[in-house]
Amino acid sequence: MQPVVNYFENTPKKKLATWFVILILLLAVVAMISYFTWDYLVNNKDVTLNPTSGTTITIGEQAGDEPVISKQIASTNIKKTIRLHVGAYAVKFSASKDFEPQVVGININDTTEITTPSLNYTDEKLASTLNSEKDSIHSVIWGVVSSDKYDIDNDTLFYTGQWYGARLIPKDWYDPNVPADLQPRPTNPNNKLDMFRVVLKKEDGKWKVVAGPSVTIFIKDYPGVPEDIVRSVNYLGFN
């Protein structure tokens, strides 16, 4: 006859098993605490939001791959440090209504300081600035090409209104025998003048020509002019 083993008896084996279970549980708790501590220390980084005067920095969770804030985490107009888990975030820089807010995607992998980049004027502000600057800009252009032969077209201000670009169109560029409202307007085969592109910059309160006038502007010929402005000015009228 086999002896019946009663597992409920307080045998040394049962004691050992109990202690073993307790030890496993303790180890699990310690492991969990260690993991969360490690995760907090290693996978969370100090992020300092350092907005320039008059600007606000807002950081939030990024919706997908696009730099769009889906859930705001912090917003400040003074220097502030927060702790964020490593990963992708969206950051919005904003200022007064004259400035176009800018949203960028950012990957937090380390301690990071975020400062406000140069914000550009809104289209409305650029348009009003252009209205007030147009006369002085045009007078500089007429010093380079003849106002008898050219018209200025596609006047455009960039950034915060200190850069300007335009096309200089010969007065007889378009065929005079075709109505002006016909699009696309046919060109005049008798025109002998090139269409030019020009970039001006306002420095010390005065406008001066910094690139062109030329049929196209080669980026490498004008290292002092931002590439995106050259590209935009060359593309004026083609869109």
Partner: protein
């Protein structure tokens, strides 16, 4: 005597190692800025700014240099080149015979001439691949929209002595066609802002 042998056993491998390392070091020291001269006949006397040099790769300073090749039976050939930083400029120097001995030399050494041609051609292929990488539009050129305009590429005026730099050449007869050629470059998916563009008549 035993002591001398010990010293020999210790120092001989060391000296050998130093010699081997020195050979490796000097053989790997490649020319990064200079000229690579190929001359015909190969025994021509070569001069760089008046100083005798050998054919093949020679380090030079950046800037303008004059290369001269002389030979008794050939006309002296002189070339002005401009070396830019990190460029080894290939300079073929094939002399023209000035007497019968020179002419006979070419007749008997056609293989050498073909070899020079092959070298220049391989260098050209290398430069072509660099050009295509730097200027992707080249793969789509020329564009001949006769009789309106033609878009092609050629020597850069901004970097005339750098064979890896190019300029776009737009040939057209009217300002409107010039304008259309620029628009066509956009339609091809390229930005004219990235290219030195030289306009000429069609």
């Amino acid at each position: 005597m035993v002591m001398n042998k010990k010293i020999l056993f210790i120092f001989a491998p060391l000296v050998f190692l130093v010699v081997v390392l020195a050979i490796i070091f000097f053989s790997n020291k490649s020319v990064t800025t200079g000229i690579d001269i190929y001359s015909l006949p190969p025994d021509s006397q070569l001069l760089l700014d008046g100083k005798t040099i050998s054919s093949g790769k020679n380090s030079t300073t950046t800037g303008k240099h004059t290369i001269e090749a002389r030979h008794d039976h050939f006309d002296t050939l002189s070339k002005k080149v401009e070396v830019i930083k990190n460029q080894v400029l290939v300079v073929p120097m094939a002399l023209s015979p000035k007497d019968d001995t020179g002419k006979t030399w070419y007749e008997n050494h056609q293989d050498d001439y073909l070899s020079l041609e092959a070298t220049i051609s391989s260098q050209y292929r290398l430069e072509s691949s660099k050009i295509t990488k730097m200027y992707p539009i080249v793969a789509d050129l020329p564009q001949d929209i006769s009789p309106l305009y033609r878009i092609d590429y050629g020597v850069s005026k901004r970097y005339p002595n750098d064979p890896t730099r190019i300029a776009l050449y737009i040939s057209s007869n009217t300002p409107a066609n010039k304008y259309d050629a620029i628009r066509y470059i956009y339609l091809m998916g390229y930005d004219p802002s990235d290219y030195e563009i030289i306009f000429e008549g069609l």
